[in-house]
Amino acid sequence: MNPRRKKRLTWVAILVVGVSVAVGLMLYAMSQSINLFYTPSDFVEVEEGKQAPVVGQRMRVGGMVVEGSVKRNRDTLEVKFNITDTGPEITVLYQGILPDLFREGQGIVAQGELVEPRVLKASEVLAKHDEEYMPPELAEKMKGIKHVNPNSPEAYTDDGSEQ
């Protein structure tokens, strides 16, 4: 490689490495703001220099819907459930239509206002899904999940609503 090309190669390498380092440091510094949501653990394990969520704060909280915690109001669209990740539970109050994927054990992200230290009044509930894809028969075999077609009448029997 002739010296001029070598010089240009050096400059290009310096440019790319320099920009990468700069962007990397920037992203590292901003990592808390880049996270889309708080996890329930963030409420108890507050990292140094970070502020714990305070009542009145608008925020997103994400976690798994705790099995057996979903309470629906029979007359309105009000629903109340707990979400958790590794320990503490956060109660979410919501009024509205939940996404189709919402179910117990499902990961969700709720956005709203913290009304009590551990209670979020949500204005929006989004469902997360994982990166696994498989046909229903396989899921039944592997995970013991009974597949229910959302359009079939059976789908409505076990949430307590009338047929």
């Binding site: 190669l9 880049i34 889309l36 949501f37 929006e124 696994e132 894809y133």
Partner: protein
């Protein structure tokens, strides 16, 4: 290897090569896209959680992967254009950028359509979606810079620098779902472990990936041929190519 690559610094030789490969790429694109799409959209089994809605994966994932693949190719061409100052590499930048931008737009668009029924929202400012949107802006920036100067070689240089600097966004897009918590789920196939998708669904996805790869390459080659001819209009070889093309009409 350098001796083998050297002739392709000459536009005529590059044109010949691309012209010879293009029909093969085009034919394979049509076959693999047709097989992948029909298999994936009509015959692959429905998902246990998402039902038929997941099928958009057969468009979303390939377009997203090759929006990044095309960008990487463009950045490599940018580096070659800057270091070795080879004209054909410069001209490949405007050939790649719009195709990559279209792939990015398709990925964002299909992602939004998928997000609405599954997540419950068209868009959320999480790290994955935002970084993919930045990729679209990078493509637009590269195109804008390339054509922003009266002297086209200056424009090509500026565009090449932006293309290379923008490469830093590619690992960010890929690892965004691991580094931060996002609404977007983690990687299904682009990881070192076994893909977390059933085999009956994986095969059509792999064929769709091949189809989108070939589609991207075919479109880039078609544009690249035009760029070569456009820059070399006054050269005898280009006039010969265009002359015979006119006679064929």
């Amino acid at each position: 290897m350098w001796r083998w690559l050297h002739p392709y610094a000459k536009p005529e030789a590059t044109y010949r090569l691309v012209d010879r490969l293009l029909p093969w790429f085009a034919a394979l694109t049509i076959i693999s896209l047709a097989v992948g799409m029909i298999w994936g959209l009509a015959f692959a089994p429905a998902d246990y959680q998402q039902g038929d809605s997941y099928r958009i994966i057969y468009i979303h994932v390939p377009s997203a992967i090759f929006s990044m693949g095309a960008y990487f190719g463009m950045a490599v061409m940018g580096a070659i254009a800057l270091i070795w100052q080879i004209k054909t590499a410069e001209w490949s930048i405007p050939a790649i950028a719009p195709v990559g931008a279209a792939m990015t737009a398709i990925a964002l668009f299909t992602g939004a359509i998928w997000g609405k029924p599954m997540w419950g929202t068209w868009w959320v400012w999480d790290a994955r979606l935002t970084s993919e949107l930045i990729l679209l802006f990078l493509y637009v920036g590269v195109m804008a810079l390339y054509y922003a100067f009266d002297d086209q070689r200056t424009g090509a240089k500026a565009a090449a620098i932006l293309a290379m600097v923008g490469v830093v966004n590619l690992p960010i897009i890929h690892y965004s779902v691991e580094w931060w918590n996002t609404l977007h789920q983690g990687a299904t196939i682009t990881k070192f472990e076994r893909p977390s998708i059933a085999t009956s669904m994986l095969w059509p996805l792999l064929i769709s990936l091949l189809g989108f790869m070939l589609l991207t390459a075919t479109l880039v080659m078609m544009r690249f041929k035009n760029e070569l001819l456009r820059h070399e209009l006054h050269r005898p070889w280009a006039q010969k190519v265009l002359g015979t093309a006119q006679e064929a009409d």
